[in-house]
Amino acid sequence: MFIEFSWLIPLIPLLCFVIIGFFGTKMHEGGGYLAIAGAAVSTLIAVLVSYEYWTSAAFASGVPYVASMEWFAFTSTTGSFVMNVGVYIDSLACMMMLFSSFISLLIFIYSVGYMSHEGNKKRRYYAEVSLFLSGMLGLVVSSNFLEMFIFWEIMGLCSYLLIGFWSFKHPEGDAASINAASAAKKAFLVTRLGDVSLMGGLFVLLYAFQSLDYTVLFDVNNIAAVDSNMIALAMLLVFGGVIGKSAQFPLHDWLPDAMAGPTTVSALIHAATMVKAGVYLTARAFPLFVQVEYVMLFVAVIGGVTAFIAATMALNNMNIKKVLAFSTLSQLGYMILGLGAGGYVMAIGIKHGDPALIAAGAAGYVAACLHMMNHAFFKALLFLGSGSVIHAVGTEDMRQMGGLAKHMPITSKTMLIGSLSIAGFPLLSGFWSKDLILESVMDAFTEPVGWVFVILWTLAVITALMTAFYMFRMWYMTFHGEEGHAAKHCHGESPRTMTLPLMILSVFAAASGLLILFGFGDTVCIGFDGTKFIVGNGHGHDAMYYLEHIFTNVYTYVTILLALLGIYVAYLMYNKKTLNPGRFNKEGQSFIYRLFANRWWFPEFYDQLSLKLGYGTACGVDFIDKQIIDGTVNGLSSSVVGGGEVLSRAQTGNLHSYAGVVVGGTIILAVIAVALFYFMGGI
């Protein structure tokens, strides 16, 4: 009875966007309360829909709830393409819409306190975040790839607007404004690069399946009818979109710069929306991804490399938000790695018809989905916590903080929970999902090219150590040690609208991972019984399986020890100060230090590339257009046609060249045509 109304979930925030956009200036808090109400209603409907789906017969038999109608069709006398619009509700969609809408709701509530000084710019802010949420929820419930792509692009557009929010007047001055503007443009254009690839992938899928509906594309019979190379091509292109949106290597560079937006926007992008869309897409298209194992291998390698590289960049960064941004990159890498490794095992299982391998692969899917949810909670908590700190001290530089624990007890404690969770402290949520991802990578050791996974596993374990270190480096530098310059002017603890969401989130950040012991693995999972893909009931593992798997594995204890070691080293360096970090990096002069601090020189590389290659090419073509073609053709025309000469004498000199183009262009065309006739045997 509620599930029929699931289309309302994205529609309500969209409606809020329109209302706030038009009337926001006349409303309280620039429409902030309406945005909160919209998110709350969406959350409520998401809860009701999820409850209804999870208690329905459809879930029990492992099929999704689908309702769609024709959007547009382009027909001819011989056939037609039909594009639908509708909803596709399964366990994955339920999980996504639950945490996206709920976390967004908390972030909106927090915004009332955080954005209180923005005056009449609030209208724009609340309108845009509502549209942003609508984009994410629409993407989650979409019933086909085209619909998904539209919401995907709406989100890209909103992120452009929101990251550039402070471009008119950044609280930190003009330089920061320009920075915000260029960061916004970078985010938009870099993710668009991925979108082009995604759109190409959709076209290939449309060609291969003559439809973009999930129900058609995930049907085993339809998949079997399509050439697997075609699917491989399509999925590699689709994954290109994921690389852009979820900021994977080598298109990861926009995300740290996107910190120029308000912290609430960062929280929204990193925790509940935007970057999760890419991971969601990979999980959503899992039945297609697992058709070709080397695509999954590629996915896993990208994920592992991103996790490692991003973590190194966080090691010595001094900006509290940047550290969190790099950690998001790194954690997204974990999720993609989990999906890739699980998918690889599953792909081999499907190829050989081995149910054990398929089940083992499904565990990677479960782990990645669990990590996505857990990460949403603890990253939202950490970003909102850092926002609370920035709100109080007015800077993002951790060297100017320190000793804030006594001024801001709630922020300090909630952030400690978030840090412990992301570091993988035993029994907190990050521990469960991260460990399951590592397990699923280990499952791939015995498969063909297992050595790749050995390397990826090693990188992932080192990343776990680094994660624990940089998170606690951040926590100690911010809340302990001597009071820095800015900490002395601290306003004290943030208002209740900001601390309340922090406290709520800290409960989830600590405990959401425990869901794996309460049926998560049975609910959000994927199975394959030889005739169809089953998302949901009955084809995952129960709690005992996971408990046994985790605690009988000796490597689990290795990772726990490494996490504790990371925390301890951070404690020695930044709290007790008995260990001088300068000893290891020649006081910031060593190559490794500079490598990390300069983000492996990726930004410079891309700047040069776009400047030299992109703008350079454009100028070059412009030059050729104006000078060389004209010039050559000038010569051509005067030698070929006397008329060109006569014209030029009669009219302006410039015209001469224009008339020359007529002749030259026709000659070029003739040469091309004759060549084609010659080579294609038309003669």
């Binding site: 959007w71 011989t78 008119f168 015209l655 026709t666 004759v674």
Partner: protein
């Protein structure tokens, strides 16, 4: 039925109304001396012609006038397109300072006359009719460009336009005469029938090349695009709008008529594959050059001119693919292009009217000074770039997917590479469109900048385009069925 009243003249009625309008305008100005009456009277004429066309189209009317003109679902749809274009142009001409100081009688007469020429081309079924229609449009447009007095750029543009137009006319006449020599007819269907049994001859190839080159100027396909930026920049902005969205579409219609009928409908026995490749290469080069050169432009009218060149490149995909789906997509994109490019030119014209320059840097902080105009411009540009859910995305999606796959045959099209070049080009184009959006929304306005008010007619035209850009994006079926019918009537 309404067409019964006019006997054998019925297929010509939309044109007849337009011609009467074109002839009456100078007299009307002579009698009333009212500069405000003429645009209103023109709008009435256009509306009458459009309603007539719409009623005929709705009734499913088809008819021929001699062997020269045919009214069917295709030509009816194209008539509506040209009527929409001239409607928008006239709507903003009434209050644009660029056009109100001209000889208004001649100006509106020429606009309606040029539109009549386009309508002749849309209904033509004979090369001579096409040729005459194109010349009517060309000669009227030379005068329209030159009419913006006191601006040396306009004079220069007009001279270039005349000379290059003359050359292209010479080329097309040459092509037509060769084709007549090979086939013994100027009627398209007869030519097709003759070619179906003819043998390969170089005369035919030369005829094709000269016709592609000659009409290539009309759509500003690379390398015949040089005149377009100069002319669009030099002309009064309503005229630029008319040329960029109307005259260019007419060129495309000519290409559809000549090449699709000769090669697909008449099933010419030879040369089809080669000509398809020629068009594919021209399309790829046209869209790439248009988009890449647009990046470095600092004048908004020149930038829009290059973007028009690129858009023509996208639509030329139809000529490479040569099937019904592609034509459906191409027609759909031609319609959405009218509203998004037309909308952008309307905004430019409106801002010139209030004294803002044509340079992109003049648009700094426009979002603060005129929020609605900046918002509309942003949507027009994003639609041109193909961002969903705007009209430009949907039409590009339909058009490009035709290059990937043909459901009629169930085989992957050989033009997949062309579709990918087109997708890559959309990504490039986003760069320069975003630059304008950034200038409007992010750069600071000058300190003395005030709020901007634009005349009501501009606002009406802009809102009209905006509504269509959004509605056609969300509800494409509104026009898609008409396009599919038109394409079906064509083949």
């Amino acid at each position: 039925m309404i067409t019964d009243m006019f006997g054998s003249f019925a297929p010509m009625m939309p044109m007849v109304i337009m011609i009467i309008g074109a002839l009456v305008m100078p007299a009307l100005y002579f009698i009333t001396k009212s500069r405000r009456l003429l645009p209103a009277a023109s709008l009435v004429v256009i509306a009458a012609s459009a309603i007539m066309t719409f009623l005929m189209l709705e009734a499913g009317y088809t008819g021929t006038y001699g062997s020269l003109f045919t009214f069917d679902a295709f030509s009816g749809l194209m008539l509506l397109l040209f009527q929409t274009v001239v409607f928008l142009a006239v709507l903003i001409s009434g209050s644009s300072i660029e056009t109100t100081r001209m000889h208004v009688g001649a100006y509106y007469s020429l606009l309606l006359g040029a539109t009549t020429g386009m309508m002749f081309v849309a209904t033509a079924s004979d090369l001579i009719a096409i040729f005459v229609g194109v010349e009517v449009v060309s000669i009227s447009s030379y005068a329209l460009v030159a009419m913006k007095r006191n601006d040396p750029r306009a004079a220069e543009a007009a001279v270039k336009y005349v000379i290059i137009g003359g050359l292209s006319t010479a080329l097309t006449v040459y092509g037509i005469s060769l084709l007549y020599g090979v086939t013994g007819s100027t009627n398209l269907m007869d030519i097709g029938a003759a070619l179906a049994t003819a043998q390969f001859s170089w005369a035919f190839v030369i005829a094709m090349i000269t016709m592609i080159a000659g009409y290539g100027f009309k759509i500003a396909a690379v390398p015949f695009h040089m005149w377009a930026p100069d002319v669009y920049e030099g002309a009064a902005t309503p005229v630029s709008l008319f040329l960029a969205t109307g005259s260019k579409k007419m060129g495309l219609v000519v290409f559809f008529k000549i090449f699709l009928i000769l090669f697909v409908v008449a099933q010419t026995a030879f040369a089809t594959a080669e000509i398809q490749y020629v068009f594919a290469i021209i399309a790829a080069i046209t869209m790439t050059v248009g988009n890449v050169v647009a990046i470095t432009q600092t004048n908004i009218k020149r930038m829009l001119a290059y973007s028009s060149i690129a858009q023509a490149g996208y639509i030329m995909i139809v000529l490479a693919v040569m099937n019904e789906y592609a034509l459906t997509g191409g027609l759909f994109h031609m319609f959405t292009h009218v509203f998004m490019k037309g909308g952008a030119f309307i905004v430019v014209a409106a801002l010139i009217n209030v004294g803002l320059g044509e340079r992109i840097s003049d648009y700094k902080g426009l979002a603060k000074r005129a929020p609605l105009i900046a918002f509309a411009m942003m949507l027009f540009l994003f639609s041109l770039a193909g961002i969903p859910p705007l009209a430009g995305f949907t039409s590009k999606f339909v058009l490009f997917s035709a290059a990937i796959y043909d459901p009629a045959t169930g085989v992957m099209s050989q033009w997949v590479w062309l579709a990918f070049i087109a997708i890559l080009n959309s990504a490039i184009s986003l760069y320069y469109y975003t630059k304008v959006v950034k200038t409007m929304y992010i750069d600071k306005p000058k300190d003395d900048a005030e709020k901007i008010q634009i005349p009501k007619t501009f606002m009406a035209a802009m809102v009209l385009c905006l509504v269509f850009v959004i509605v056609l994006g969300v509800y494409p079926q509104l026009i898609l069925d008409l396009c599919a019918n038109a394409a079906a009537a064509f083949f």
